[in-house]
Symmetry: C2
C-alpha cells in the first residue's frame, strides 16, 4: 500500500476544504502528516521518526501485528451484529469480568467512550429513577449532547450548566482548595460532594449519579487523594445514587499496579458502573459499559431493546481479546509500572533544578508535569508549556501535549511499550528546553482558565 | 481460526449471564449461532447455510475479501487519530462529496449512525440557534439519549415526548391519513408539517430542524410520496430551520436508481444535513455527517473543538474507500435495481393469489411486504407476519424480519449482492407459507400498535 498518495500541501488544502474545521489538527500552525507507525514511534512522509508520548489509544503499540492478525482473521470469517449468538462476545465479556470486582458482571458493548458514557447515564437514571448528576470541575466525558451536559470542560464554553448538573471541586491536591499539606484531603474533598448532595436535596431534587474519571485527565492528570472515592460512594449511595467510574482514558493496565485506575482507591471501593473505551481496541472503535446485575436488571425491566448496530460484533471482540492477550504476554502492566516510575523519578529530579516545575505526579504511564511561573503562588505557566510542546516536536521529534484548566500540565500517556530509554530521552530534552527557557527569561501575563474564564492570580 | 470455541448451549448460557438482557437476540425462543458468512449467506455451527435478507450493514456482502484486505493493509501501516494529517480521510471525503449535491461538501467522521445523528442535531441547533425538532411518527434515529428524545418509536415506551419535539404524521400512503387514492399525497403530508410549524410558532417556539429518514424504516419500509421532501424543506427553511436527511439505513446505492435515497425526491430537493452510517464500513464502525459550508462554519464559530477519538481514522477511511470501490466495480447499484425490481415484481404477483398481502412497496433492495387480515380495513396481520418469519427460518433457512408500528411488514434489506435466484427462492417460500397459513385459517384478535398503544380497528 502506498504510504502517501498526495503531497502534504495538497492533503492540507483538501482537509481545510472537506473536513469540518471544528475537527482540529495537532500543531495547527505546522501540522504533521503521519504515514506509518510501529510501537511508540510515528513516521512522517519524509520517514522522520517521532516518539509518541500521547497516543493512549494505541495502548499495546501502534500497528501491533497480533492485533492486525486477529482483526483480519475474524473479518475474513464473520462480522455480524450481536443479535446472533457468537463466542467472541461472551468470551471477551468473561475475560473482562475476571479483571473486575465480582459485582461488575454485566456488559454492554458499544463503539466509543462517548457511547459508553451516554449509556451509563441512561442506566443510572433508569435504576435510580433520579435525574441529578454530580461531576468534578473541568471534567470531560465525551462529545455527545448528553455528555456535554455533564462536562464542565465543554458546557462552560457552550450551552452552560443545566439545573440537574452539579459541579464538585476538582480533588487536585496541588492546585485545588485542599492541598498536599491538608491532613486528609480525600475526606475533605469527599465532604464537598456531601455538601453538594445536601444542597441538591434542599432544592427537592434527587441524586442519580456521581460521575468521574478515575484519574481526571483533561482536569490536568490528577491523582485522586486516597479515600476520596470510597467516601463519595458512601455519600452517593446514601442519597440513592450510583457511582460511575469513567475509565475510558485510564483502564487496561495504564496505571501499572492495577488493571483499572479505580482500584488505586483501595479494595473497599467498587463503582456501580464502569465505562471503558480508548485503549480497548488499540485504535479500533470499541468501548463498553460494565455494571451490576441489579442495574442491568432495572434497565431490562423498562421492556425496551437496546441495540447497538456495531457494538460487540465478532471483529471488535476478537480485537479486544487480542489486546488483553498482548497486555499479558508482553507484561505491559509491569512495563507501565517500571517505566512510569522511572519517568516520574527523572522528572522529579529535574524539579530540583528547574523552578518552573511546580509538580510532578502520576501512576504508571499516566504522568503529569505541571509548569508554574512561581512555586509559591503556583501561577500556571501556560505559554511555557506550549513552548516546551513546540520545541519537543521541532527540535527533538517528540509528541507531547498539555492538559489542565490552564493548559499548563505536560501530559504523558504513551503506548505501554514505552521504554526506559524513551523516558530518559524525554527527560533530557525537557531539561534542555527548560534551561533555555529560563535563560530566555520567559515572563508572561497572568493566565485565564480556558474552561471557566476564572483568572489565576 | 477455530470457528467455534464453545458449544452453543454454553454460548447461550454465558450470553444470558454476561450480556445485558436489553441486548436482544433474533429468534429469542430459539436463537441462531452464526460462525461464518460470505456474500448473502450465513452459516451456523453445523455448517447450515442461511440466506440473509436483513443484514443491510453488510452492504457489499459478508466478509468481502477486498474490504478485509484494505483493512488489514492499513492496520499494519497506521491507525492514528484525525489530529494528524492523513490522505485517507481527505480522499474519502472527496469521494463522498462527488456522490452528493455540490452544497453538501463538509464532512465529520464518527463511529455510528447514532453518533452522526447526535452531531447533526448539534449542528442544526448551533446553526439555527433554535431548539424545536419535527420528526415523523414511529421514527427511530438511534440509541443515544438525545436521539431517543427525537424517536417516537422509543420515547413513547420510555420518557415520553419532550416539549421541543413535535411529531408529524408518517407519510404512509397505504395506512396513513392520506392514501394512494389522494390526488397529491406529497403535498398533503407536507402540509401537516406546515401546520405543525404554525402550532410551534403559536407557542412562541422556533423550528430548528425537520429530521427524517429518507425512507422511514422502522415505520414500515415507507416510500415517501413524491414532492413531500421539497415542500417540507421549503416550509422548514421559511421557519428558519434545516432539513436533516437520515440516510443511515438507506444510503450507498441500496435504492438502485440513485446513490442516496433522498435523491428519489427529485433534483429540486437537497437536504441541509445528511447522516450516513450502517453500510458505510460493511460492518466496521464508521459513520458520517455531511453538511453545507454555512452550517459547518456556524459550528466552527462556537470556538469549541469537536474531537472524535476513532472517527475518520486511516483504517476506517481505507475501509470506506474500499466499500465505494466494490459498489462501483461490481455494479451493486445496478444489481440492487434489477434484483430489487424482480423481487418486488414476484411479491406483487403473489398479491394476486394471497388476500393477506395488503401492499408491496419498495425501491431497489429496500422492499416491504405488508400483511393484513382484510384488504378493506387493512387490519395488520401481526401474528401472521411473525409466523412467516419463523417458518422462513425453520423450514427454509431464510432470515427475514418485520417492521412497522404493528410489526406487520416483512422487510427485505439484504446485502446488495442478493441474486435473482435468491429473490425467486424467497418469493416461492413465502407463497408456500401463506398458502399453508390460509388453510390453517389464522384468525387473530385486533392488534395494538407496539409503539404508541393505539388500537388498529
Amino acid at each position: 500500500m502506498a504510504q502517501q498518495k498526495l503531497r502534504k500541501q495538497e492533503t492540507l488544502a483538501m482537509r481545510k476544504r472537506l473536513i469540518g474545521q471544528s475537527c482540529r489538527l495537532f500543531y495547527s500552525d505546522d501540522p504533521v502528516k503521519i504515514v506509518r507507525a510501529r510501537g511508540q514511534y510515528l513516521f512522517d512522509e519524509n520517514n522522520q521518526r517521532y516518539l509518541d508520548c500521547i497516543s493512549n489509544v494505541h495502548h499495546v503499540g501502534h500497528c501491533h501485528p497480533k492485533i492486525t492478525e486477529a482483526a483480519a482473521a475474524q473479518m475474513d470469517l464473520l462480522n455480524t451484529n450481536s443479535r446472533f449468538l457468537h463466542d467472541n462476545i461472551v468470551l471477551y465479556a468473561d475475560r473482562l469480568a475476571a479483571s473486575l470486582p465480582e459485582k461488575l458482571c454485566v456488559f454492554y458493548f458499544v463503539n466509543s467512550g462517548s457511547e459508553a458514557n451516554d449509556l451509563a447515564l441512561r442506566l443510572a437514571q433508569q435504576f435510580t429513577q433520579h435525574q441529578d448528576v454530580i461531576v468534578v470541575d473541568h471534567a470531560y466525558h465525551g462529545h455527545l449532547m448528553s455528555l456535554i451536559d455533564i462536562s464542565p470542560y465543554k458546557f462552560r464554553k457552550l450551552a452552560g450548566q443545566k439545573e440537574w448538573v452539579h459541579v464538585a471541586p476538582l480533588p487536585d491536591t496541588y492546585r485545588g482548595i485542599y492541598r498536599e499539606t491538608h491532613p486528609n484531603p480525600g475526606q475533605a474533598y469527599a465532604d464537598t460532594v456531601k455538601d453538594l448532595i445536601e444542597d441538591v436535596h434542599k432544592k427537592g431534587r434527587k441524586i442519580c449519579a456521581f460521575f468521574a474519571e478515575s484519574l481526571p485527565s483533561v482536569g490536568g492528570q490528577i491523582i485522586l487523594p486516597q479515600g476520596y472515592s470510597a467516601k463519595v460512594a458512601e455519600y452517593v449511595h446514601s442519597a440513592g445514587g450510583v457511582y460511575v467510574a469513567d475509565e475510558v482514558q485510564t483502564g487496561f493496565g495504564r496505571v501499572g499496579s492495577h488493571f483499572w485506575a479505580f482500584q488505586l482507591q483501595g479494595e473497599d471501593f467498587c463503582p456501580d458502573i464502569v465505562t471503558l473505551g480508548k485503549p480497548m481496541g488499540n485504535g479500533h472503535p470499541l468501548a463498553c459499559v460494565a455494571t451490576t446485575k441489579e442495574i442491568a436488571d432495572a434497565f431490562t425491566a423498562n421492556g425496551v431493546e437496546y441495540f447497538n448496530t456495531f457494538g460487540g460484533n465478532p471483529v471488535s471482540c476478537a480485537i479486544g481479546l487480542a489486546v488483553l492477550d498482548v497486555i499479558k504476554e508482553e507484561d505491559l502492566r509491569g512495563n507501565a509500572m517500571t517505566v512510569g516510575a522511572h519517568l516520574k523519578d527523572l522528572l522529579t529530579k529535574l524539579q530540583t533544578r528547574h523552578q518552573m516545575i511546580g509538580d510532578v505526579r502520576g501512576v504508571g504511564l499516566f504522568v503529569g508535569l505541571e509548569l508554574v511561573k512561581d512555586r509559591e503562588q503556583r501561577t500556571p505557566a501556560t505559554e511555557c508549556a506550549a513552548l516546551v510542546v513546540k520545541r519537543l516536536k521541532e527540535e527533538d521529534r517528540i509528541f507531547v501535549s498539555t492538559d489542565g484548566p490552564w493548559e499548563s500540565v505536560l501530559k504523558f500517556k504513551p503506548p505501554l511499550c514505552f521504554s526506559m530509554e524513551d523516558a530518559e530521552l524525554v527527560a533530557q530534552c525537557i531539561d534542555r528546553i527548560l534551561t533555555a527557557a529560563a535563560t530566555e527569561n520567559i515572563n508572561l501575563p497572568n493566565n485565564t482558565c480556558i474552561n471557566c474564564k476564572r483568572e489565576q492570580k
